[in-house]
Subunit: 646 residues, 2 copies
């Protein structure tokens, strides 16, 4: 934990304070004075450095391979899977390159876009596979440039399968993976971390195992940083391969590719593709149970766990790479049994970070997008700088407009039919809308017996933290204070607190109470009268869809509402209530009524008109109680408002 | 307090969030994302805006005029007076232009350098007088450029006294103040706030009172922002003058110049210079008591108070300008009796801010210079950017070397003889040094009966806040832990707390406990063993004069040790323990042993050798207890160290 640097001699001192007064001015120019404290080394290191650090620390890790889905709906599901499996703490994921699927395009199912989504929207360290045969140099350079622009930092350089049955070398073309490695290093210098494939049994097309090892060595010496192997069935296959690699001078990390058998057909297909032979002892088990998926999967899990244990116990293996086949259960099970699945309730920051390199300093966001982090990332994707340390004053950069509700990574996970069951096939009044909000808060089924597990503003069930406020939230939603975001006040809980903690251990986290809701203009009128009593204590912003805006924010400054104090670090204040951003959020928050809810119903239908009425006439309100050490007064504010109305 | 902006229509909303995603990138470039919250509007406003704001708020204010001293010692005293009288809250001070004293030079007694010191080192809004007659255009432009470079923002434009007895207009020269006003506006546009002089009885050389009013109007129409008047003896003189000004269309603020009679001779001299006539009723009182300074001063105070009351009661006067004659007592007394002297124990930040415009965003400093803010400002004067929001990581800009201990604004207020009485005419051992430190802490007289009111590292008596730690500090200093800086831990006291509060009201301030001291290598060895027990809780930096450096700071990051949470604002963290700056501070802290203490004694004398020994062999240590909500553990750390030694 502690970085004790004992330095002798005055060299270190003078080298740090060199320059003197005359050069003070120059050196200050070179520095961005606002730099992020290294909260989470993972955000700043390259993949190869992370690997090295984990190995040096004796940590064991895993990674996960996915392939791009065929349909947009499958893409929505895959992104949810990234989020869920990301929670287990993979060191990276990788996305295969599907030459047949227009892999470098902007299609929602392309390799490029799936990898982009994993990095930017799911915050996962990601390797994009790329093949080179049958492609021009310009195509390849174009793909690499695009990958770089999207924030991808790692490439798995592969040859790919030849187009025809018989493959011929192209003169001056990309014939082998090594050509692609060289090309990446020539054109992009050290920008990418490059991974190459290793074949524990030798590549099926290689002249010999030894010749294949020599090819591998060429790839490494051309600039590859590490090796991921093809799957294999026996641990000794990998361990022998690793020793053979080391014997010929390959010293970079070699990561075994693990394939938990998940079904009879997928096993057969994979074996066909990889031209590997399944050992007889496995065939003997699988054949008799080939129609029993559960049995095969259980066997596959057992087999994988025992193989992984043997690999790890050898002391030669620090990380395991899993061929998931885009499935969750088997791999997760193996990882849990190995003790590698580490669902760390602690977060580096209270919100989900993006892994785009230009966002690695980002440590402040407006609270409004707390439940829609992907939308926030999308709307700020064009920014060149990200707030760090401070949000800054009202001259904040513009948010991109959100018109692309159809984008698969912004879409609800639930299909229309499910949404209708949750939010009502038919609405009869504003009160039936209040009921939907109330059911979402309480977790109780609605009058048709369906649980409301998401809302247009929250695609997930209530956060654990919000559960702390459940009783009060239920009460106010029933009466038409339609809450979409809230947090309790916190006066210095340990940063390791399982519910509200974040950041490195040994620190303390704080929050100001926050409440955000839609409500009618009648309630707003009463609320404004009540707020006069709380003038110095409560900051408020009240806005309707037309932009009528009422606030008592001093000088339109942001209000920090979440912050943390950590040992040996500057203060982190990851969420603010920013008056200017609120007007951008307002557009999105109001639009969600229409885009996600009203459009479920026929035009001109009463249900749709009710939602449209709310959209047109309600106000969006946020309240902050600045007195975080005292009891949250926001419930009293709401209580006073209802009293005034009665 | 509250800035309620009710905006109707969607115009405001769209103008704020305009651009959309395509222009998001451009607009983000335009913004410095880290901007300081407006903690103290005074740091951001121009003088004329401050005046307007005060007037609109119905606040009454005062300002103070000083002249440059004749000797370097007098300059040291004047700077202390700036600090003391600055505490009463003047809206500004002004420094007269002494054509005979090389006023634009770099001499420590020049008008330019005194005004520079007031702005930069005392943090006072300052007006520099400037006269124009008998000077070339280039001279004047040079002076103005220099004033701008030094951070001066306000000029009092005067004609000055002609060189000979008989004055003749120069063709194309600067003959009148109005020429200077025009020149400033031509050459420097709106950069400076410009003030001009008004003569309630008319300028003695003017053809008539009416002609003089017309000249004043010319000066205002040429671009002057406000008027300060010559002294006068009767309130009706000023009030008539003001009405006459308004009658001819002068609408800018007119500030009456108040001259509290402080002695018979100064009165006579001033009257001679200003060619004013003293009213008979004043002469009648003063003449009989002309040898009784105290009686004259008392009368002067009475007279000034009653005149000021009449002016303020007229409703036409919002601010009063005092001709102090560089004296403190009479003016302070008048201001206190008028209720204008406002010693606000609350500070915008925990340290004394500088008023240089380029430093107005500055809101973070290393804690090391807490007792030497002028030295800190001096050593960072070449910086172009100042830390704001965050200190930033270890690549902080270089500090200027401090070799100029002789500079009058860095020098001790006490002369050598006094220092010797406090710190010992003769030192016999390291223990006699421990005694000096202990006496400074306790406030008890030393063995020769003298109180130790300053130390090389602290030119003032112990801060009230440090008094909270007095008992513990005494104990450890007696045993050779020679403390030079410390602060208690604070877990959320109101920002209005009279001892530790700072920043706007309604907030909460926090601190981590801090202790900084010199100590022997023997104690350091034991301390390091003890610190292992406190590894995660206590951050430490230990360095000797040669730069041997031991620390457990993670990644050389700064540790925020003072911060404040305020309503509707981002978090302010004004002091940090920065590992890199500490090495620059170390040079200064060690050098002070020699420059301020050892050099009091003869070379080769035992006293000097003792100080030299400490300088060469002791370590400078700082400790931070990160667990600010718990009881400060640093005393236990020291206790454990002594236990280990025994």
């Amino acid at each position: 934990m502690v970085n004790e640097t004992q330095q002798t001699g005055s060299g270190s001192s003078s080298s740090r304070s060199d320059g003197g007064s005359s050069s003070g001015s120059e050196s200050s120019k070179d520095n961005s004075r606002c730099s992020t404290p290294v909260l989470d080394a993972d955000r700043h290191e390259r993949l190869r450095e992370k690997m090295r650090r984990r190995q040096e620390a004796g940590d064991r890790w895993f990674s996960l391979e996915f392939f791009p889905p065929r349909t947009a709906n499958a893409a929505v599901n895959l992104i949810s899977r990234f989020d869920r499996m990301g929670a287990g703490g993979p060191l990276f994921i990788d996305v295969t390159w599907h030459p047949a699927g227009d892999p470098g395009s902007d299609k929602e199912t392309s390799s490029m876009i799936i990898a982009n989504t994993a990095v930017n929207y799911c915050g996962l360290e990601t390797i994009l596979h790329m093949t080179c045969c049958n492609q021009t140099k310009d195509d390849i350079t174009g793909h690499l440039q695009k990958a770089k622009r999207l924030g991808l930092k790692n490439i798995m350089a592969l040859r790919g399968d030849p187009a025809g049955e018989e493959w011929e070398e192209e003169v001056d073309g990309f014939n082998y993976a090594v050509d692609l490695v060289k090309h990446i290093r020539n054109e992009f210098d050290d920008y990418f971390d490059v991974c190459v494939a290793g074949y524990p049994k030798g590549h099926p097309e290689a002249e010999s195992y030894e010749a294949d090892l020599r090819h591998l060595k060429e790839k490494v010496f051309a600039g590859a940083d590490f090796i991921i192997t093809q799957l294999f069935f026996r641990p000794e296959t990998f361990l022998k391969f690793m020793k053979d690699c080391q014997a010929i001078g390959i010293t970079c990390p070699i990561i075994p590719g693990i394939f938990p058998i998940q079904g009879y057909h997928s096993l057969r297909q994979l074996v066909k593709l990889s031209k590997l032979e399944v050992p007889q002892e496995i065939k003997d088990v699988v054949e008799p149970i080939k129609d029993n998926d559960a049995a095969i999967r259980n066997y596959g899990v057992e087999l994988a766990v025992s193989m992984c244990r043997e690999l790890l116990d050898s002391g030669m293996v620090h990380g395991l790479h899993f061929y998931t086949l885009n499935r969750e259960v088997a791999t997760t099970e193996v990882l849990k049994r190995l003790g590698l699945w580490k669902e760390d309730p602690r977060r580096p920051l209270p919100w989900a970070v993006s892994a785009h390199p230009k966002r690695r300093v980002e440590d402040v966001r407006p609270i409004f997008w707390a439940s829609r982090p992907k939308s926030y990332i999308y709307r700020t994707q064009e920014w060149d700088d990200f707030p760090n340390g401070r949000w800054g004053n009202s001259s904040s950069p513009a948010f991109g407009e959100l018109k692309d509700y159809y984008l698969f990574y912004l879409k609800s996970k639930s299909p229309r039919e499910e949404l209708l069951k949750m939010w009502g096939e038919e609405l009869t009044s504003e009160e039936s809308v209040f009921e939907v909000f109330t059911c979402y808060i309480t977790g109780e089924p609605n009058r048709n017996g369906y649980k409301v597990t998401c809302m247009p503003w929250n695609d997930d069930p209530l956060a654990t933290e919000t559960n702390l406020l459940k009783d009060q939230l239920e009460k106010v939603n029933r009466r038409g204070i339609l809450t979409i975001n809230s947090q309790p006040n916190i006066n210095g809980k340990p940063s390791t607190d399982p519910i509200v903690g974040w950041g490195p251990s040994g620190g303390y986290v704080f929050q100001k109470a926050y409440l955000e809701f839609f409500t009618s203009s009648e309630i707003v009128t009463a609320l404004l009268k009540v707020l006069k009593k709380y003038e110095l204590r409560v900051n408020y912003h009240i806005v309707n869809v037309k932009g009528q805006n009422i606030t008592n924010a001093p000088d339109l400054q942001p209000n920090a509402v979440t912050w943390g104090i950590f040992p040996g670090r500057e203060i982190i204040q990851p969420t603010v209530v920013d008056p200017v951003s609120f007007l951008s959020w307002k557009d999105e928050a109001f639009a969600l009524w229409i885009e996600q809810w009203a459009k479920l119903y026929e035009e001109e239908s009463p249900s749709r008109m009710i939602i449209q009425y709310i959209h047109d006439n309600y106000y969006l309100v946020n309240l902050v109680d600045n007195d975080f050490p005292l009891e949250n007064c926001l419930w009293q504010v709401v209580e006073d408002t209802f009293e005034l109305l009665n």
